[in-house]
Symmetry: D3
Subunit: 232 residues, 6 copies
């Protein structure tokens, strides 16, 4: 039995990442997972934040936000969903800091802005995956080593079946919702799993991680194409 | 003597408007004036705002905002530029209300969101021009008459020369900065002129209006193409 | 056919400006256009804002606000009308910066506060006109040259007739609403015109500017009387 | 030894209250204690607040604020002094609720706005005293009985001497600062005393209350003159 | 006729103060007046606030807040009661500054946080009384002299009877509500009295002060026990 | 090699949960994991939130906050840590909704407030564990079935060793930080793991889950003792 959009359980939606889409940003990308589309920019600023003064390292921070009509019905700009957005901003920042050599960034702060243009599920994972491309282009512009390749994808249990890269329709009826940040070699950087309707077992968790590692190959390839394609 | 980007004084930058770019919004468009790029969506909601209860008419309102890295250097999401954004939001709302038959909209509120992806001067005029396309597509979806065609463009005096559609480099050294909302027949709907560095005469004002009416033809054509092209 | 309050189309309401009304402010004035009454103070502070550091010039900024019961019905202090107030604050600031020699102000910031005590139309133009008096008195106190004389007034089309200095009753039924900042010699510093109900032609715009330049004489005279009268 | 402005210890500054100063408000007054000047308006609104639904009574509430340049140096509009202003707003509201027959007000909320135009000490007491005039005029307009007459004044110990109605210079060096709300017959409605620099005895408190009751006569007279003079 | 909880008119509820309850704070206490329970911490920070720069003294400031369910029904965390909390914060700060030698504190700011765990009337007085213990422990840790002993308690008129230390049930039907800050020798530091339902006489005020001075002995003893008991 | 406080890798700190600590709340508990101490209250309110109207179910929501001096150095009340607190509030709410039969709660909203009195690591897990006790007591008061027993604990990798229930000193040097919400039968309800310094493998994840399920027994026992002990 195939999925709502005809995919196999372990199959990503089409992954398309375009680098260098903003003429001003030091790094930028639009990352699409099917209809989901996130615009990511990396802004390089002189100086590290105050809490790092004298620590001999730079900083990477992220902000995630949705345009008001990224969703099926319009969401107001203020406050609405503010808690969720903060939480995802923190996730993206952690993931990209884990990718970079912060000591080499000493004296710089890189701000990653992830603005969701269209939200059809998996926006936080597209934000991490596209944000990595923006970061990689910015580091190249600074003459620094490329960051460790990281990406993110979602998985979950829907009607008892284990699936990767849930679209909105699947996500809204999922019994278990899992988001992972992975390194290119399949190691875990972050994992967040929630039993939205009931519990789950460690074995299900293992199985979802396994099929996600497989599916991540599509993202790895799209990221490399974007970074090695024509940057600004 | 040609302009910084080779244009004649009365020449628009390339105007490209794509309609139907958002799969959820009732109307949408990306409007580009050269590098400047604004994403506009129209969201149709049931019910008019409270101050119109019983007035027998609907409402159109607009919100204008910049993505943090739409500009040469990043601008924080909060507060920054909040006064300017409010002012432009009000301008866009007035312009599009002037275009529509609010009585025919009775029972509806249409929210126009204009989010600046790239800002190279003239963002408010691109917001009005693209917002009109989003509005026109939304009205068509409601089975209503198309709105009166309106668009906006900027003009100004730079180094003593009268120019239309200033890019950022021109705008930042302009002595006189003028924004106009025009109907397709050249009548005025709104005009805002500021002597940024010194004064200006009524005669200069007339001349700027005259060359702007000429240049507006490019916007008229691009709007019609977007509305009559493949909407969602 | 005379106007609602018996005036001719090109006639200002009585203009009364009293200077030196606040014992602490470096400059102050109450500016009345008919019933409309705005209290303006100029506060001189040491130091220029951050974005001007090293620029060799000072700064003038303005804040416009309404007392809660300046209007027919009470308006809450918070948020209400915040967008409109910001927009007018920016207008007043631009107008007064255009009047002053900012280089001579190096090392100072002057804050102009315009608080509307009674609002019967034209409050932003009374704020500019009274703000100029407060500024002129403050500059005199600093031993600087007087600023270029600027003032503001409104005009509009009501029931097809072109009028200056609209009172609230006229303003709320105006088809075209125009606000101008003028220099004493009639040159334009700022113009904002909105077709509230329909469009307007460049010729109407010219005619309104012409009758406004005439009417501005009353404001010029009242400003000079206030500045040359007994300051604090 | 006379006071800084030549007064005797138990002598008020000149008390001048003008009623009916705002053309829109249901009641209004400007109350001056010497240089201190507070504009008070009473706005009558239909309906009582939610927490009084079904209680068979109306409500009176107050808001106190300072214009930015009411003080020797300018104070920003936001947040600054917000705690102090809230505290005084609550005091004024309590004092005026104590004066009125809330049951007779059933179905109404009266909002008293007290905006300080010039602050030379005693602004909260001028706000209560002027607010009462605005309230009395508003009640008369509703055809209700006049409120119990209440007023407020300050007192304190300065350099060991007990004084009434402290001006700013006295207040800022006071060792004991006392504010009272009194009924016309001298009974107490509210008392707030603070040993700003050291302690005070119950006996000193009694003495200050006694001289304040004497001095209150000037306020009683000015209030009656304002209420019985030409209202709007 | 005894009180609702069996006390005599001049009798405090049981006063229990535990010092050193927080392992991190430089001083801390839980102060209970009957069911009312307030957690107080003193945080010592380097540096005085900006307005004291160069003044040769330190500063003490306080913040008072209620946990959402300190009250019979839950109160939201935001804004709700914000005015009241600010007012009490200011009261606690003033009382503790009056207790300390600010010159000896030069170079330090001490922040007293008073968080109400359970509110059964008299929370502000328990905050002052417990805050003093936290302050005293913090000063001892700095090797400074102990502060002048201060405490606070409430009193009032309920059904015509004069009572001390009102519990919530008494407080909510009080005709006169009085809060006092006292020194250990019975001198007054602050007094706040409000006729919630009608007026009161100077003689009643004197009588309430007299019985409160008596009752304060219980607080004096509990404070000393807490300070001299096992601090952290 | 034992841990910083002498524990074995799989050993919880002493778990002490006291139920019924607040006289007003429908359910309450203080949950201590070693020095960490969180006060939890459950407030039962009539009516479900708007988004559930007509859905035939009730709602449970949570708010998590820290007292300013819960931490080693004081944290300001506003904004500071707001993103983190929102994130944890959402976690606690999800965990407790997963425990309850929301259909049986139809017509009610239960608000769980978790206020951290002392923070020595693991505050979010103590909040879930204590919040469950407060919830269980509130449901009992409503005459409803007890909720499914859920609890939370942390685990992590520190210096290469896998440990449960990290204290602050361990947490701040952890390479991998894992928080779990578990049912009493060991099934997973939520899992959040972050490689703070580097990556981790699925096998390490499994091992941490396994030792955490063992350690959870201490929490299970303390929760049952609190629920079955003397409630308010």
């Amino acid at each position: 039995m195939s999925r709502i959009d005809g995919r196999n359980p372990g199959q990503m939606r089409p992954v398309v990442i375009s680098g260098g889409v903003n003429p001003y940003a030091e790094g930028s990308a639009i990352c699409a997972f099917g209809q989901t589309k996130v615009l990511c920019t990396a802004s390089v600023e002189q100086g590290a934040p105050r809490f790092l003064e004298g620590a001999g390292q730079g900083w990477i921070t992220a902000e995630y936000a949705m345009l008001p009509r990224a969703t099926h019905t319009r969401t107001g700009r203020d406050h609405a969903q503010a808690g969720r957005a903060k939480e995802i901003s923190r996730l993206v920042g952690r993931a990209l800091r884990a990718a970079a050599d912060l000591a080499a960034l000493d004296g710089y702060t890189i701000r990653i802005d992830c603005d969701v243009l269209v939200a059809d599920g998996g926006t936080r994972t597209a934000a991490v995956s596209g944000g990595w491309v923006a970061l990689a282009l910015a580091l190249r512009g600074l003459g620094l080593q490329p960051p460790r390749q990281v990406m993110a994808l979602s998985a979950g249990r829907v009607d008892g079946r284990l699936l990767v890269d849930l679209c909105y329709a699947e996500d809204s009826s999922a019994e278990l919702d899992l988001n992972m940040v992975l390194a290119a070699d399949g190691q875990l950087i972050e994992i967040q799993g929630t039993g939205e309707r009931g519990v789950f077992s460690p074995e299900e968790l293992m199985e979802l991680i396994a099929i996600s590692r497989q599916a991540a190959g599509d993202i790895v390839a799209a990221q490399l194409a974007a970074v090695n394609g024509p940057a600004r």
